[in-house]
């Protein structure tokens, strides 16, 4: 377990983080962090929202944060901050036009400062309460670039004895950005009237039609649809997450949610996981959930300190969160981090726990393991051995160029080194990997037979964009000539299919190395990929899945192929 985490870390390590005496080819891909903005030693509160952009021409990159008991906006480019009204909870509207502070006081986001006036200062029938959030119900374009926008705001008004309440606000926003409150829906009304006081820490979705909240009845976080029944607001369960999470934020299109939750290891391995958090491995990480694909995706992978209080960016493609780092003295430092949800490279994670029916002694897996062990031998600075899954997926963490250099520069020495064989199998491939003695013998036999050219075939760089090869012509030739390499022109993702489908394991044999013979498998392969059942060895980004489906579709139909053959 620990080693798998370590692999995750390796996948993401910064190029510059490796010590100077490690060869350049050991450097792994850059981590997909887009930003890491330090809070410069200050301790933030647990409130933390990106202020979304108002449109394509809006280049601002700001967060609304609470620092030491006061609201601020923070520039994500340089970390500078500016204080704004209110002691807490400056919630930006989804269209980036307002920052709304309790009790539903709308501040114009443009030029917001300590002197800013509330735009709805004279509003009657205030929506009191805490934990406010807002969605955009409707936008009507008007003349000269103006528009009318209707927002739904909700709060938990348990301070007044009832539960969730809502109210709607229509503003006119002129072409120049001047904002005027036109009307409201009147007195606050009860939200989710069918649920009473059972739901807590609610957040409204960006279109105002979904709601995430913790249910005290089930002890889980639930996403509800907000509907009107007989003039009353009711909430119907859309998805019960099955576990409790932090407050859950929605993506701009309301198709995904992001949240943080605990990681609670069950193997303490001499650490005291819950007695001295957060120095130990009990901590929080950021996840997204996609309603369309039912995918739960881990975005952060901190094993010390926490990654929490996440939100989506306005483009919906990246997530920002607060990262807490703890040094050896137990001192904490905080930063704001941003990462792509669907980074093509960061998604190249082989979850071996899902590999069923894939024989770890199949030729391609043995090659992948060998590359991993080579990297560990030459490059690793850690004391512990890497796990089977870490070894088998190292190729995904390497650039093709560094992979080739690593193999070309070190393979022969590695293979001839004393004790290499014992090292190679290692504890992780023994009992923990479910290996029998027979498996181990077969494994070692195959490993011993591997040549440099064999291992070079693993240097595909996973599903990453291919980079120009700097290898010598004979090495390139060796790669192309290797029997198990995917065919030229195939989707790079196909390389991950070869390991299980080469006929040596339980998975059905598919001749990926012979595209001309793939036609009979086309329909079944498309079905498996389009339903998300395959490939099991990697989690594809939407783009990767699209590319793979495109490639599979490009395979001639069996009938077409018959025609071609006849002609």
């Amino acid at each position: 377990m620990k080693n798998t985490i370590r692999f995750s870390m390796l996948l993401a390590v910064s190029l510059n983080a490796l010590a100077q005496d490690v060869p350049a080819e050991c450097n792994l891909r850059k981590e997909p962090l887009l930003n890491d903005v330090s809070l410069r030693g200050r301790t933030p509160d647990y409130f933390f929202k990106p202020i979304w952009r108002t449109g394509p021409s809006d280049t601002r990159d700001e967060m609304s944060v609470i620092i030491e008991g006061a609201n601020y906006t923070m520039n994500m480019r340089d970390g500078s901050t500016r204080q704004i009204p209110g002691p807490y909870d400056g919630v930006p509207t989804p269209d980036g036009q307002f920052i709304v502070i309790p009790t539903m006081n709308f501040l114009d986001r443009n030029g917001v400062s300590m002197g800013s006036q509330m735009i709805n200062e004279n509003e009657e029938g205030r929506l009191d309460g805490v934990y406010h959030s807002l969605g955009v119900l409707n936008t009507v374009p008007g003349p000269a670039g103006s528009k009318q926008v209707t927002y739904r705001g909700i709060t938990d008004t348990s301070t007044g004895g009832s539960n969730l309440m809502y109210k709607e606000y229509t503003f006119k926003i002129s072409g120049e950005g001047t904002k005027t409150l036109l009307s409201t829906s009147g007195e606050p009304k009860e939200l989710c009237s069918n649920l009473g006081t059972s739901i807590k820490t609610p957040i409204l979705s960006k279109n105002g039609k979904l709601l995430s909240a913790y249910s005290n009845t089930t002890g889980t976080t639930i996403i509800y649809e907000v509907v009107q029944v007989g003039g009353r607001s009711e909430c119907r369960v859309k998805k019960d997450m099955g576990f409790a999470t932090s407050k859950m934020e929605f993506s701009p299109d309301d198709n995904k949610v992001v949240f943080s939750m605990n990681s609670l290891p069950t193997t303490p391995s001499a650490v005291n996981w819950y007695a001295q958090p957060p120095q130990d491995s009990h901590n929080m990480n950021v996840f997204t959930y996609d309603f369309g694909t039912n995918d739960l995706t881990r975005i952060s992978n901190q094993t010390s300190g926490n990654a929490y209080y996440p939100s989506f960016d306005s483009d919906g493609r990246s997530v920002v969160w607060m990262s807490q780092q703890v040094d050896d003295n137990g001192d904490e430092n905080y930063s704001v981090r941003r990462s792509r949800v669907s980074d093509g490279r960061s998604m190249d994670f082989v979850d071996f726990s899902k590999v069923r029916g894939c024989d770890l002694t199949s030729p391609n897996v043995v090659k992948l393991m060998a590359l991993g062990k080579l990297w560990e031998s030459v490059c690793s600075q850690n004391d512990t051995k890497m796990s089977a899954s870490a070894l088998g997926t190292m190729s995904l963490a390497m650039t093709p160029e560094n992979c080739r250099n690593l193999v070309n520069n070190n393979w022969e020495n590695f293979k001839q080194s004393t004790g290499m064989a014992e090292e190679y199998i290692g504890a992780d491939l023994g009992n923990n990997g479910g290996f029998t003695d027979e498996d181990s013998a077969k494994y070692m036999q195959m490993f011993t037979a591997l040549s440099k050219a064999d291992v070079l075939t693993t240097c595909t760089g996973g599903a990453a964009t291919p980079t120009p090869s700097t290898a010598a012509p004979d090495e390139v030739a060796a790669e192309v000539a290797a029997p198990a390499a995917p065919a030229t022109g195939a989707s790079p993702t196909v390389s991950s299919c070869v390991g299980c489908h080469d006929g040596s394991g339980e998975a059905p044999a598919i001749p990926f190395d012979k595209p001309a013979e793939l036609a009979p498998f086309k329909k079944q392969m498309l079905l498996q990929v389009m339903t998300g059942n395959m490939p099991r060895m990697m989690n594809l980004s939407p783009q990767q899945r699209e590319d793979l489906i495109g490639y599979l579709r490009s395979i001639p139909d069996p009938k077409d192929q018959k025609k071609e053959d006849d002609e």
């Binding site: 993401a12 301790t43 819950y274 995706t297």
Partner: protein, 242 residues
Amino acid sequence: MKKFALAILLLSQMAAAIPLLTPKETYNSFTCKKKITELEKNWGAVGEWKGHVTVEGTMGLLKRTNKFAHWIVVEESNGIETATLMNPGNAQKVVFDKKCKGTLNLYAHNQFSNQKGVNDTKLLKELMNNQKGIIGLWSPGMQHSASAISRIEKVAKDLKLPVLWVMDPFASDKVAKDFLKSRKIASVEVRKNSSLELFYRDSTMHYPAFFVYKNGEIKGNVFPGLMGESQYRDTITTQLGK
């Protein structure tokens, strides 16, 4: 080396997707569920399974037992299914092989190193010493904690209930002391949560929050979020009446 690893860990980010299964689907996905069911009985499982995401990002399950601070965790990782009885003293982890033959591994904890915190021993003592009471969870990172402390203490005083205040384990002692001092809150001590029972009851998801207890047992799920005085009173009274 360890410092190096820590530095890297702190930098690391990654994404890995898994299908979100319901607790029932997750349970049914286990090959060794018959053996798991036997263990459940032996370990005194109580109530329904709850979902749980493992350290490696796979779906797992949690269930409480009839013993205080004893929780069952069922997981699958690297193709290996395990069932673990977590308790303050140790983790009894049964690792199943391909034929669902289980091997028991024991991992000792050292919970008592954190004497300043609220560990399970201290928590149980509190629960046994009082017939009923409130466990308040607070964090200096959440501004509403100050209001919650004030309101819960007032309600508790009216209802003659003791309150055990437990702090966010991830907050700094110094920041916590400054928070309490600046808000003139003298009744609350800086004592971090280090209780397995509270962790598995989702006590770290949001602050402020609270539990109520009666006859040595925590009643129901956590109540996260700030409430008004009247709702605190109603909720606490209702929970204690159950």
